[in-house]
Amino acid sequence: MVQKTLIFASGISFGNTCQIVQTAIASNLFSAVKILSSPQTQNINRHLVSMFNAKNTDFSLQSIPLNDFINNPAEFLSTSEELNFLIGPSTVENQLETFAALCAINPPRMWSVFEKRTKSGISTREFRSFDVKDSVALVEISSDEIHRMLPSPVSSLLREHGIQWESSTSRFNYHINFDSMRGNTPHRQRKWEQKQYATINQLREHLGIHGLIITHSPLPNHWQKQDGTLRRLSARQIREVSK
């Protein structure tokens, strides 16, 4: 039987990588997954692979350094494999380089994570092949499961900041609650805002820009600086929600 291998260059968003792997395994469409890891994602992907391999012994999951793969794809793939390339995660350059490397073995069948959007948000998230012969709904990963998969320092960081996992979007959510600063002086409010910035930057380093949704509570009347920097400068990245 021909081995069907799914290959993708992973982005920084751990939740996304995890969901792709889980979906590939659950779909029964592939017998192997090869994650191409950049220097930034190498450690976390290795951890993910070790966690999966501990419980899925009949499925081949590998993390390969992207540069090694691009330089010598024949070391990692055989011409008898059916190659399936998932486009989307990682940078455009990494995706184009991966496609070029795959063509050196066999031009791959192309896939994408397909999202249907409605006015109220994303309604469907699927793995779909561009030849439209196959389509698989992305597996939802529970909060417990994602925390089991995460390396413990990252998991501790998320717990420390009360980060929630949104299984429907496969993204982490950091919620900023302005009410927690009720009654504080403008100086303390400003200090608090600075701390929020630092936290956001730290979280993005670990979870990727796309892997983290930041929300905040409506700005309360008692907030001293109505044009506070957090809200004023981050309106494009942070959305207001009532929680």
Binding site: A104, R109, F130, D227, R232
Partner: protein
Amino acid sequence: MTKLRRLVFFSPMGGTQKTLHDLKTVITLLQHPQILSELDRVLILHDESTHGNAKSLAIQVSRLVSTNPDVQLHSLPNMNALMDNEIVTPLQNDDIILASGSGTHLGLILHNLKTNSQLIGKSLVLVHPRPNGVSLGVYNYKISFDEITVEKKDIQHPNPVQSLRSVLEESDAEIGEVYPRNDTLSQEYRRMIELESQQSAEDFRELLMSHYRISIERAGAKMEVIAGALLSSMYSNFTEIYGNVLFSKRDDTLKFQEEDMLAMLTNGDIIWFSSKYSIQSGIINHERQRLLAKLPINFPDKRIHRVILTFSEMAERYSQSEGGVVITGLASLHSTLAQFIERT
């Protein structure tokens, strides 16, 4: 013999300035000895939501090319329906494709290279302007019955500098002041910068107030004037320098964000300057945090450098580039700029 080529690209969802700049790049690239060709046709792929941008780009791209190319628009299903049916994109031999659009659009092109039987025996070029603005990845795909040969070239970006004005205008920013080129800095300002670097912030502020007979509130503004004059005298490092740039935001109760200075370096990077002539560390710290946010413009964030201009004494308290924000006095500004320009 010069090869005739067709330029293919996806119409963008948001503003058109980035795509327009990328198109200029591809057009310039056609003069490259390894590609040498002439543009005789343009194909713009769009969906319902990007049709307006496609029409606008059709006019603009015609103006960029002297050969009066035939510009065609080709409609695709919208994003929600893009993968409902298999799509054959009307690609042709020798097309030069700009890597634009979404990841799914790029996937569609790569899928067509493998499956579109019309392309067997043909070759196409895909150009990817890298986000660093320094180089381009140029991929030449030769398609045969059962294989695709990919030849990749890295080419130095022939057109790295985008117009800062066009980037700002696209974001509805208002430019308060245009700094002119001024090859010399007045003797007086030169002396002030020298004195500032030798004295404590407080002493220099006193000197400034007594010399110009100004209040403490005006002292900071005077330093901004000196900083502007200094930057104008360094114009050989810049293509444009703008002051008091005002961004207004729609769909938000809080409307405005004003920045002291934004400048485009000759290598195509932007410097986001903030003047903070205060002797309170808290104000500098706060500003440093503020500058970690993104500017509301469509421009790669990695190519935006953040600089706080302050008293030299204050700048010395901070490491060279704490948290990605450089804090500098005017006397050190030249070496600060050099480090941004020398990047590769």
